[in-house]
C-alpha cells in the first residue's frame, strides 16, 4: 500500500497511444467543451434554468478515465455531470434536452442538469448532495462483487466533497470489503468559492486512503494520457480483486462554480494563465500536430463535425416539447424494479 505523488507523465504514457486514439481524445474533449459552451449560451437565453455547472477545463479527467473502461463498468458523479455523460457515450441530444427540461431529455425533463441517468450506459447519476455519490458508488461496486463479475465502478467527486464524513465512512467499508471502486477526486482546487487550502490542512487527497489501507495516486488532470495511464492501473488493481483505489486528479475549472457564480475568489489572471499554459485540449492538439498524427485541416474538420453535433443537440433541446402534464404523477412508485425490468 502506498500513496504516490505524481504518476507517469503524458510524454511517457504517450508511447503506447495510437494516432487514432489521440484523435478520439481530441474529439471527445472538444465535444464536451463545445457542448458546455452551448449550454452556457442557452442558459443565458433563459432556455436552461436553475443550477447549471459546467465542466469546461476538466475534460481530460473523464475522457482519460473512460479510455480505461470496458462494457459493464459503472460510473456515478455529482451535479457537474454533463462531461461524464458525454464521455461515456450518452446522446448529446438527450442530455441537452434534459437541460432545457423537455420530454426528449434523459429523465423526460424531470431531473434537470444535476440529475440524469442512463441504464444503458451504466451511468448512475447526477447527484445534488455533495458527497452522496461516494457511498452509492461503493454500493454499485458491492453489487458487482456480490454478483461475482469483474466490473469496476468509478465514483467521481470534488475536492470539497472529499471532506464529507460519508467519504471517510465509505473508504473504510470499501477497503474492509475489497470493493472494486475507484474513487476519483476531481481536484479543481475550489469548492464553490472555497479553495482547498481554506478547507483542509491535509490537502493531499490521494493520501487520505492511507489510514484505511487504500492505495492512492496523484495525477496530472490536464494531461489526458497521464489520466488514462493512471486509470488503467487503478482498473487493473480493482479487477484483480485487490479492492478500491484512489485517484486524485489535479484539474481546474475555467468557469464559475455554476452559471450564477461571479468567481470573485480568484483572479482573472489565474484562470487565464492555466488556460494558456495548461489547457488539456490544446495539449493534445499540439501532440497531434507536432507528432504529425493529424493535419490542421483534419482538426478543422473535427471542429466542424462537433459544431454540427452540438447545434443539432441544441435544436433538439429547443424543439422537444415540455413533458406532458400527466408526467407530474408518473415515476413516483415503480411496478417492477426498473433495474431488473
Amino acid at each position: 500500500m502506498a500513496a504516490r505523488k505524481g504518476s507517469a507523465s503524458g510524454a511517457k504514457a504517450g508511447a503506447n497511444v495510437s494516432a487514432e486514439e489521440l484523435k478520439k481524445f481530441y474529439h471527445d474533449m472538444l465535444l464536451i467543451r463545445r457542448f458546455e459552451e452551448k449550454a452556457g449560451q442557452l442558459y443565458g437565453m433563459g432556455l436552461i434554468g436553475g443550477f447549471c455547472h459546467l465542466y469546461i477545463g476538466q475534460e481530460a479527467v473523464v475522457v482519460g478515465l473512460e479510455a480505461a473502461t470496458k462494457e459493464g463498468d459503472k460510473r456515478v458523479t455529482s451535479y457537474r455531470d454533463h462531461g461524464h455523460m458525454l464521455a461515456c457515450g450518452m446522446d448529446p441530444k438527450g442530455v441537452m434536452a434534459e437541460l432545457t427540461g423537455r420530454e426528449g431529455g434523459y429523465s423526460k425533463g424531470k431531473g434537470g442538469s444535476m440529475h440524469m441517468f442512463s441504464k444503458e450506459k451504466h451511468f448512475y447519476g447526477g447527484h445534488g448532495i455533495v458527497g452522496a455519490q461516494v457511498p452509492i458508488g461503493a454500493g454499485l461496486a458491492f453489487s458487482d462483487k456480490y454478483k461475482g463479475n469483474d466490473n469496476v465502478t468509478f465514483a467521481y467527486f470534488g475536492d470539497g466533497a472529499a471532506n464529507q464524513g460519508q467519504v471517510a465512512e465509505t473508504y473504510n467499508m470499501a477497503e474492509l470489503w475489497d470493493l472494486p471502486v475507484i474513487f476519483v477526486i476531481e481536484n479543481n482546487q475550489y469548492a464553490m468559492g472555497t479553495s482547498v487550502q481554506r478547507a483542509t490542512k491535509s490537502p493531499d487527497f490521494y493520501e487520505r486512503g492511507i489510514a484505511y489501507g487504500i492505495e492512492g495516486e496523484e495525477v496530472d488532470g490536464m494531461d489526458v494520457l497521464a489520466v488514462k495511464a493512471a486509470g488503467e492501473k487503478a482498473v487493473a488493481h480493482c479487477r484483480a480483486g485487490k479492492g478500491p483505489y484512489i485517484l486524485e486528479i489535479k484539474t481546474y475549472r475555467y468557469r464559475g462554480h455554476s452559471m450564477s457564480d461571479p468567481a470573485k475568489y480568484r483572479t482573472r489572471e489565474e484562470v487565464q494563465k492555466i488556460r494558456e499554459e495548461r489547457d488539456a485540449i490544446e495539449h493534445v492538439r499540439q501532440l497531434l500536430l507536432t507528432g504529425k498524427h493529424a493535419t490542421e485541416d483534419e482538426l478543422k474538420q473535427i471542429d466542424k463535425d462537433i459544431k454540427a453535433i452540438v447545434n443539432e443537440s441544441a435544436d433538439f433541446a429547443k424543439e422537444s416539447p415540455e413533458p406532458a402534464l400527466e408526467e407530474l404523477w408518473t415515476d413516483i412508485y415503480a411496478e417492477t424494479a426498473p433495474q431488473n425490468a
Binding site: G111, F117, I136, F142, S143, D144, E169, N172, S260, E322
Partner: protein
C-alpha cells in the same frame, strides 16, 4: 451574418439586470471568452463573456442602463468582413420562433371518479388457516429468512446483524444459514451504509438495511430521502432503489430523549417512500415480506416493546399482506379509533375499558402509512360519526393531523364531533420514570378522548 448579443440570464432568478459597464467599444475586435461587459444581477456583479468572435458593431444599450430585460438585444456583433450597415439590419425586428412550447396550467390532481369509500374487506388469509403462536421478533426473522431463500439478491446489512445475531436478536440464525456474503456486519457508519445500500439497489440487488434503531437513521436520512426516494422520479423511471430500511422505532423504556422518537409521520411525508408500521406478528411477517419484494424503497418501523409480544400467525408456507389495506381489529358502532404500531396496544386497551362502560369502539389498524387506506377509515367514520386517532409521535404535523384533514374533506357531513388526535406530548422524551409515563400517550387518554367525542 451579424448577430445580436442578448442580455443574458446570469442566475436562476434573474429576470432583468443593470448593464453596469461596457469593457469593449464599438469597433473593437472580440474573441470568444473575452469579457465584454459587466452586468449586475439580482445577486452579484457578473462578467459577461463573448461566446463568438467578431467585431463589436454597435452598442444598443448604453452602460448604466438598469432594468434591461433578459434576452433583450444589447449589442450587435459583426462577422469578419461585415460593416456597420449589417448592424442596422440585425437590429430590425424579426419574428422570433417560439422558444418553448406553451403549456396549459397544470391540474395538480389525479382523477378520482367517485369519492365514496370502498374498503377492501377480503380476509388476509383463507378462513380456517392453521395458526401458530409467534413473537413479533420470530415473525420478522422468518420473513427475512423466507425472502432470502426465495431471492438470492436479498441481503441484510447493518450493525451487529451477523455475528452478534442482531442487537435485538431479529437476525438470529441468519448468518448461519446464509453466510457472511449475505448477512453483513457494518461499521457504525449509518450515512455511509445507507448510501452504499442505495448503490447496491441501483446495481440490481435487494438490500435490507437494518438500523439498530431509527434514531440513528437521522444520520442517514439524506440518503433515504434524497437518494432512495427520489431517484425513480429524477431518472424518469429508469432507475430506483428497491430496498427496505428497517429497525425499531419509537420509545423503548427509559432511554431518554435521543433514543425515543417515533418517525412515522416524518417518513409518511415523503412521496417515493412506502411506510409500514406493523402491530401484530402476523402483520409484521406478511408486511415485511411484501416490503422486501416491493420495487420501491420501504421504511419498515418496528417497535422494541412489541418484539417480545406473541400473536397468532398463519402457518402458511408463503403469505404476504398488501400495503394500503387497514385491518379492523374490533367492530363497534359508537366511535372509530384509528391507530398503528404500538398505538394499537393503547387503542385496544382503551376499547376494552370503554366496552365496560357501554361504549363500543371500532378499532382500525392502518398497518401502512404510505400508502394509507383512507377508505376503511372513512367508511367507519361514516358509520360511527366520531373519530379518535392514536399515535406515539409528537403532536405538531402528526399523522393524525393528516387523517383529520382527510376526514374533514371527505366526510365532513358525517361528523358529529371534531376528530381528536391523541399523540405523545410536545416535549423531548424525559428520562425520569414518572415523567416518561406522562410524555407517552396512554389508554386512559384515549378513553378520555372517546368520551369527549361521544359527549359522555
Amino acid at each position: 451574418m451579424a448577430t445580436k448579443i442578448l442580455m443574458p440570464a446570469l442566475s436562476p432568478t434573474m429576470e432583468e439586470g443593470t448593464l453596469a459597464k461596457w469593457l469593449k467599444k464599438e469597433g473593437d475586435a472580440i474573441s470568444a471568452g473575452d469579457i465584454i461587459a459587466e452586468i449586475e444581477t439580482d445577486k452579484a456583479t457578473m462578467e459577461f463573456e463573448a461566446v463568438d468572435e467578431g467585431t463589436l458593431g454597435k452598442i444598443l444599450v448604453p452602460e448604466g442602463t438598469s432594468g434591461v430585460k433578459v434576452n433583450d438585444p444589447i449589442a450587435v456583433l459583426l462577422e469578419e468582413g461585415e460593416d456597420a450597415s449589417a448592424a442596422e439590419e440585425a437590429e430590425a425586428p424579426k419574428p422570433e420562433a417560439a422558444a418553448a412550447p406553451a403549456s396549459a396550467p397544470a391540474q395538480a390532481k389525479p382523477a378520482e371518479a367517485d369519492d365514496m369509500p370502498k374498503p377492501d374487506t377480503t380476509p388476509d388469509w383463507p378462513e380456517g388457516t392453521k395458526m401458530k403462536t409467534q413473537t413479533v421478533r420470530e415473525a420478522l426473522r422468518d420473513a427475512m429468512a423466507e425472502e432470502m431463500r426465495r431471492d438470492e439478491n436479498v441481503f441484510l446489512m447493518g450493525e451487529e446483524v451477523a455475528e452478534y445475531q442482531g442487537a435485538y436478536k431479529i437476525s438470529q440464525g441468519l448468518l448461519d444459514e446464509f453466510g457472511a456474503k449475505r448477512v453483513i456486519d457494518t461499521p457504525i457508519t449509518e450515512h455511509g451504509f445507507a448510501g452504499l445500500g442505495v448503490g447496491a439497489a441501483f446495481g440490481g440487488l435487494r438490500p435490507i438495511v437494518e438500523f439498530m434503531t431509527f434514531n440513528f437513521a437521522m444520520q442517514a436520512i439524506d440518503h433515504i430521502i434524497n437518494s432512495a426516494a427520489k431517484t425513480l422520479y429524477m431518472s424518469g423511471g429508469q432507475m430506483g432503489a428497491p430496498m427496505v430500511f428497517r429497525g425499531p422505532n419509537g420509545a423503548a423504556a427509559r432511554v431518554g430523549a435521543q433514543h425515543s422518537q417515533d418517525y412515522g409521520a416524518w417518513y409518511a411525508h415523503i412521496p417515493g417512500l412506502k411506510v409500514v408500521q406493523p402491530y401484530s406478528a402476523a402483520d409484521a411477517k406478511g408486511l415485511l415480506k411484501s416490503a422486501i419484494r416491493d420495487p420501491n424503497p420501504v421504511i419498515f418501523l418496528e417497535n422494541e416493546i412489541l418484539y417480545g409480544r406473541s400473536f397468532e400467525v398463519p402457518d402458511l408456507e408463503d403469505f404476504t399482506i398488501p400495503f394500503g389495506k387497514a385491518k379492523i381489529w374490533r367492530e363497534g358502532a359508537d366511535v372509530t379509533i384509528v391507530s398503528w404500531g404500538i398505538g394499537m396496544s393503547h387503542s385496544l386497551e382503551a376499547a376494552e375499558k370503554l366496552a365496560k362502560e357501554g361504549i363500543e369502539a371500532e378499532v382500525i389498524d392502518l398497518r401502512t402509512l404510505r400508502p394509507v387506506d383512507y377508505d376503511t377509515v372513512l367508511a367507519s367514520v361514516m358509520k360511527t360519526n366520531r373519530c379518535v386517532t392514536v399515535e406515539e409521535g409528537f403532536p405538531v404535523a402528526s399523522f393524525g393531523n393528516h387523517l383529520s384533514a382527510v376526514i374533514m374533506e371527505r366526510a365532513f357531513d358525517y361528523l358529529d364531533a371534531p376528530v381528536i388526535n391523541c399523540t405523545g406530548k410536545d416535549v423531548p422524551m424525559p428520562y425520569a420514570a414518572n415523567l416518561e409515563k406522562l410524555a407517552l400517550v396512554t389508554s386512559d387518554e384515549v378513553v378520555e378522548a372517546v368520551k369527549k367525542v361521544t359527549y359522555r
